[in-house]
Amino acid sequence: MVTFFGVPIQALMGQLLLGLINGASYAVLSLGLALIFGLLNIINFAHGAQYMMGAFVAWMLLTYAGINYWLALLVAPLVVGLFGVLIERLLLHRLYKLDHLYGLLLTFGLALIMEGLFRQAYGISGQSYDPPQMLQGGVNLGFMFLPLYRGWVVVVALAVCLAVWAGIEKTRLGALLRAATENPALVRAFGVNVPLLITGTYGFGAALAAFAGVLAAPLYSINPLMGSNIIIIVFAVVVIGGMGSILGSVLTGFGLGLVEGLTKVFYPEASSTVIFVIMAIVLLIKPAGLFGRAN
């Protein structure tokens, strides 16, 4: 049997793949957080709940309306995104003149309410969701067995991250967003409807979280607490990558997923804390984060 530092290569590859998959969720989730933080200056504590809602909406679409995975991949982010738009218009909108702390508290409260409602309705035992027919089974790569759905998650998450990054760096809308992140008052004085841009960004961030939730639905059990479990790690990812840095949050998301996977192989006891250890070290050495700009 082929081994690598005493670890069977199969096991190593398996954990790396798991790491990549977790990293994919981290990346998509921290991307949305970074977008929202950049423009709204709000740490969106409802992000985990929006991820959970994405998974639940996909499950509800299938269970109550027979709407399949592929459509849910579009519809669930749309539904949760619109919900985000409502939250921004009706609630967050009123808090911009106050300290950022209020936005954080509000989104934290919303997350608790959403979790509570889903717990009330569905309990915490969890629902299962099958991967679409097309992506069931797997392929033998020789050195490991790759479940198709897991491969798909990594690829599609990477593609989404790249597309969002390109949209921000290479398009006019992206330039407006970057400029409004720096100086919203001036961009508005050029005739741009910045409040609309802000609403759209929050909605888009929520939709991204929901998208990650739909991707995760066939991988894990869908339960009301799935968001708060993952979001703590994602906050650490964002802190390590640097608040508000788009590319930084994507790279850090995938990178830390891999680090977590490797830790599971070589020192399993530390696998659930390694990210927080890294966060503490980064905060001590480079408080603005690996890709953040100090200001």
Binding site: R172, R178, T181
Partner: protein, 240 residues
Amino acid sequence: MHEPHAGGAGAPLLAVRDLHAWYGESHILHGMDFEVRPGEVATLLGRNGAGKTTTLKAIMGMVGRRTGSVVFEGGETIRMPSNRIARAGIAYCPEERGIFASLTVAENLVLPPVIRPGGLTLAEVHELFPRLQERADSQGTKLSGGEQQMLAIARILRTGSTLLLLDEPTEGLAPVIVQHIGTILHRLKERGFTILLVEQNFHFAAGVADRHHVVEHGRVVDCVPNSQASTATLQGYLGV
């Protein structure tokens, strides 16, 4: 370039009446009254802290609270948010220049949306400011101070706005660059732009302006045609 507008011949392009403005609790403008006529270069002159920048921001709707009247092309703008004021045809070049660090020079240049036809084309802008084309791919804030000022002026010329609000475009720049900006303002005036210029540099202002408004403590205390502006009186106001 400028169409005849509501109010008939001789009507001002911009009429500011009894304009008050506040930052939080601080009452900064105490009833500004002045006009800018189509095609002219008018200045707001005054010492540091007199309220010149606040006046431009109040016209753009960028202060906490404002009252009074700001009529542009015959339409009242006092209750509009700043994005609608910009879309009415007023373009703003801030004192701190406001070049975006996360945008390239080219991206900075085309950031302000074109709000109506009649503005300069990109080619015309490049002809006026060749340096901006050479540095198109640089980060906006990597330009020198003078180049950043050029960029801040250049980017509002494409929009089709007829009134330019320029806040101390010569501040902190070398004499040769100040002179260059003077030439540019002359060309913009010939092109039909109307300019409201905030200055502390009276010599520069006297070289480009048709009329001066002297601002003290948030009010216009004097209005002098450039031809009658004696260096002595205006420098007295400016305290230089």
